[in-house]
Amino acid sequence: MTALAQTWRKVTRRGGEPTAETTDEVTVTVSTVEAPSVEIAPNDPLVAYLQGAGGAVDVEKLELESPGVTALREAGVALVVPLISGGELVGTLNLGSRLSDQQYSTDDRRLLDGLAAQAAPALQVAELVQKQAAEARSRERIEQELKVAQLIQQNFLPRVLPDLPGWEVAAYYQPAREVGGDFYDLFELPDGRVAVVIGDVTDKGVPAAMVMAAARSLLRASGQRVVSPGEVLQRVNDLLCPDIPDKMFVTCLYAVVDPATGHVRYANAGHNLPYVRTADGSTELRAKGMPLGLLPGMSYEEHEAVMSPGDGLLLYSDGVTEAHGPEREMFGTPRLVEHVADPASGDLIDGLLTRLQRFTGADWEQEDDITLVTLRRTLAAGGQNGRVSGLELRFTLPSEAGNEREGMRRVLEAIEPLGLEARRVERLGTAVSEATMNAIEHGNQGRADIPVEIEVVTLGSELVVRICDVGDGPTATDVESPDLEAKLAGLQKPRGWGLFLIENMVDEIRVSDADGRHTVELVLQLKGGDGDGDD
């Protein structure tokens, strides 16, 4: 039963009693007495009785077998006035016997009933306000806790990724509203190799964030001392076991990558298996092991893989594979593998996220943290056989007219070390400028907030400049090929030279559309080309 109006307000009038200052005046003392608490259970027959009573009720005359009645009598209540609002009993006014020991008069009762009729709705409103205030406080506390969890999480994620020549390293982390326990880490080891870690703590919020912080620190500390991934996991497991709260554990994939050779040694503590995008499709990096923090004394399988130039490694958390679509269907591992295996499906992170977004729909509320870490080997380190090494550049430009010049400038600056013939450099400049202009004006429709992405890489004997937009406009390849005579005769518009120029400025142009992205690749052959005889 909801709160009862339980304050007795006694007005005592003492006449002619001796007081400290002897005076003939009548002293009026008003005292408020806390009434003894009377609990009436919601299923007590008294509740139904009071609801239908239609006015004040004499407790003495009640002929009800009810614990409530007994409690009222024990508390010395003589009269109960039900407070009814909206047909519902929201409380009672409990009155003791009159000081005069007389019965409550009809006037008294009428007054009390009137009071009850006014008080009941007011009481209900007050209760509602109180309840809402309590809810707001509790929401605020939850928000506060969420912020703390986010803060812990963010402080323990790497701020800067290591710069590995010949490799492209990228990470994406998006916490769910109620932060899960995802984490990732990349750090260089004393021998020049790089440790790559991804993990997920069961549970959410502050407890998960605390365990994540501990696990991440232990992994870093052990990783600096021991190189074998299996041994690192074994140590961290043994250290974590005594301290981890009940029913919590950590899944974790720990890999050590040698940037010079592409060798990857890895061990797995119950985490989702990583995949490598290769020229022939995808490879699963399989290794077995128990999650960390469950049982001490575990050992972890260790395996090795080799990544060739062009291969890309994807580590991810189950926030991706267990995301649900509008029909409650799960995104699942097969879709992820399909994405990894298809190079036309776009970038391992951006492309995958676009695909996930399309799967979950616009109204999706992210259920769990999503973490993605990728390492792509862009070229053979060491530059054998006249291969150029170490050249790679990636940047974005807002889709604003004129920015094609900046794109051209940065690409040309990046390829300077290649020592290409000036004429070929100028041609590439024109091609980059034209393709970027197309991306700005057509692909991204001049919306400044949508960036054009430009990437410069050398792959084997090719220099490739990739220019990427969201592909909303008509594709450049649909444009009719320009004919100057027709243009001069007014049969074609004077414009429409862009793609024609690009085609004539580079050795090859490759156009692809995947996952809502339109990519134009401008290719220059680094060897042969124009019979340019530099070393």
Binding site: E404, T430, E434, L484
Partner: protein, 110 residues
């Protein structure tokens, strides 16, 4: 790379009116180019001087095509000088070179 809006100045040389272009021949050059061409008047031939042009793009080419179309309807000839080898190549690829006289620079080195 700083972009420079095109300035087009008309001067009269022995061979006739010359439009001296300084800046970028791109989308923003339209007004300057049209105004200069109108100013050059209806001489038998007009020369476009590209010495001061460091950048030209496809939109700029479209503007030159527009000028060429105007010249043809009024029976004028349009010539070009001062092209860098790169832009000369572009004039050839687009076949603008077939409809305009490209003046080689060697004789003007004095």
């Amino acid at each position: 790379m700083a972009t420079t809006e095109l300035q087009a100045r008309v001067s009269n040389e022995a061979l006739g009116p010359v439009i001296e272009l300084v800046g970028d021949v791109d989308g923003r050059a339209e007004q300057a180019l049209d105004a200069a061409y109108t100013e050059a008047g209806d001489a038998a031939g007009v020369m476009l001087d590209f010495h001061g042009v460091a950048y030209m793009n496809s939109t700029g080419i479209a503007l030159i095509v527009g000028l060429l179309a105007r010249a043809r309807t009024s029976g004028q000839t349009l010539s070009v000088r001062g092209l860098t080898p790169h832009y000369r190549e572009i004039f050839e690829i687009t076949r603008l070179a077939d409809f305009m006289t490209i003046v080689d620079e060697e004789e003007g080195s004095a």
